[in-house]
């Protein structure tokens, strides 16, 4: 059954990159059991996205600044990858390129079985819509729209032909524990609730990869941890790949991998250096996400 589900998942999300491409900088070692105490050890699936030897240089000639150098990274379903590093180290450039928001100067980005590094803005929106959801530090919710409207409009924007955007938005908000407040405006929600709305919005269109840009930076510790737990759950139970940029080392316990970026270069953190995984449902946590039938559900 597991093998069948894995094969179905791989064929749904696209063929894996060629076997000849370099392995990710963590050495390709098996990650920690996804979700720590929440999940059970599962076989590592083919990467959903793969960056190979990616470089990004801003400016030209004497003014050229190398923001990223020979960066390689695999993004696997069911894994939470933390990206850490000092300000200006290239973290944002890394996730911007991974999320197809920035074109690399060199290197390959494998997605849906093909190198998409050279694609133009004509093709990229559809690829982004199918594959990525983004969560930001500042939430970026339309203040005039209720929570459910914010999620629904993103679904419609991703897919103008989406017929059940409202129902989908309600379901996603229920999933992140915001069912009772789905008709509230962002101004009437707490920071953690806003971020949950933003996560629900990112899940619109069912993208396999979630990218967070310091999604907990504007939140207090308890709320930040609950948001991170939610992302962990989404990775574990729905087999999504979660990539989070953070400055907060306390979040490492939710991660399967930590990637450190310094001076535009990727350095892996030894697996043994990661802190212990969190308990499954710590006290004071928000309502657990409800499982659903999805290609990314645990096989």
């Amino acid at each position: 059954m597991i093998a069948l589900a894995v094969n179905e998942l791989v064929s749904t999300l696209g063929a894996a990159p060629p076997a000849t491409t370099p392995i990710d900088p963590t050495g390709g070692a098996a990650p920690r059991p996804a979700g720590g105490a929440v999940g059970v050890p599962t076989p590592r699936l083919a990467p959903l996205a793969r960056m190979v030897g990616v470089a990004k240089t801003y400016g030209r000639g004497e003014n050229a600044v190398a923001a990223l150098t020979a960066a390689s990274l695999d993004v696997h379903p069911g894994e939470v990858t933390l990206i850490e590093g000092p300000s200006g180290s290239g973290k944002t450039t890394l996730i911007s390129i991974l999320g197809l928001l920035l074109t690399p100067t060199a290197g390959e980005i494998w997605l849906e079985g093909k190198d998409v590094a050279g694609l133009g803005e004509r093709e990229l929106p559809a690829l982004r819509a199918r594959n990525f959801g983004f969560v930001f530090q500042g939430f970026n919710l339309f203040p005039a729209l209720t929570a459910v409207e914010n999620v629904a409009i993103a679904i419609r924007m991703k897919n103008p032909r989406a017929r059940n955007a409202d129902a989908e938005a309600r379901r996603l908000l229920e999933q992140v524990g915001l069912g009772p407040r789905m008709h509230h405006l962002p101004a009437d929600l707490s920071g953690g609730q806003k971020q949950r709305v933003a996560i629900a919005r990112a899940l619109g269109g069912d993208p396999p990869i979630l990218i967070g840009d310091e999604p907990t930076a504007a939140l207090d510790t308890r709320t930040a941890l609950s948001v991170m737990e939610l992302l962990r759950e989404l990775a574990t139970r729905q087999r999504r790949a979660v990539v989070v940029v953070t400055h907060d080392p306390r979040l490492e316990r939710f991660a399967d991998r930590v990637v450190r970026v310094e001076d535009g270069r990727i350095q892996s953190i030894p697996r043994g250096a990661l802190p212990p995984a969190p308990p499954a449902e710590p006290s004071g946590s928000p309502p657990p996400i409800s499982l659903r039938s999805s290609t990314r559900s645990t096989p």
């Binding site: 928001l101 929106p125 982004r128």
Partner: protein, 377 residues
Amino acid sequence: MWTLARKLLFHDRLRFAVAIAGVSVSVMLVLVQVGMYFGFMDTASSLIDASRADLWVSKQTNESFEFATPFDDRAFYRVASVAGVAHAERVVMNFAQCKLPDGGDLGVQVVGVDTTPGHRPLLAPWNVVDGDARRLAEPGAIIVDRTEVPKLKFDRIGHTTEIAGVRAEVVAVTSGIRSFTTSPIVFADLRTARSYLPQLGGEPVTYVLVEVAPGVRVADVQARISALPHLAAYTTAEMSARTRSYWSTRTGVGAGFFTTAVLGVVVGFVVVGQILYSGTLQYLREYGTLKAMGARNGAVVRVILSQAMISAALGFAVGAPLAIAMRAAMKLANLSVALTPPLYAATAAITAAMCAFAALLSIVKVLRLDPASVFKG
């Protein structure tokens, strides 16, 4: 998209109210100014447009309808004898001084028309609301418009006065026949009118109105008459257009009205553009987020265009009734504002275009918005 556009607009109600006020003022200015222009032009050509004539014949050198120089009565017979002319009538027209009850004088525009019985006249007073228009054939009988009563200072049908020292009796009153020159139009029989216009001398004719015989092409008759020395024949539509064009271009009245109308559009453009742009800047990160998640430029542009169209529609919905109210107020001042369905339609289209163009800056901003920018700060 409409829902998002509407909610974004309504979220900041004060700003939205300013936008609607800007569009409304613009719509009102366009409607009232262009309506006044057409009202003036309708007034300028009202005598021509009310005639049943196929052709208007005048001196070749005439440019102005009101200030046309007359020709000799023999020219009338030359025109009447042209092949294809079924019926011809004389019109004499010029200015004279009318004596007021208080002893003062007022310049009036005398229009002498043919009242010969047995044929329905090609030009006659219309919209008669009081008195007996058939008495116009009587010597010294005149018909004036009721809007001119305050100027002429008479209080009843049968009021007598003098025009150029000759007796004149008001036998009927019309409604809505006004002169572009602001001098009251005084209808009289041809002979009476000539007696009021001694300065023209002899038996002057200012225009000959022609009814073309059935089955004969008007253009053929027009060409034949225009071939006569010193005469020019125009169809009624051509004559009307010439008159409108004369007043519009020679007096600058057209430029004046349209400049104000254009200024109205500019005001609306600037207000709506500024409001939409500031709104776009306010939600730039949210738009960037949608683009990052895969929303195409077209989808985001549609939101902004929808906001522009909502502003246009509501601005028109407020501005048009304001223009109607202005028309009612101006009517009290004897000013005509011609608000016609085509003018409403054209103004609606102009408003939509104005708001769409006003959204261009916002659209360019969103098109150039780098979705990666949402990760920066």
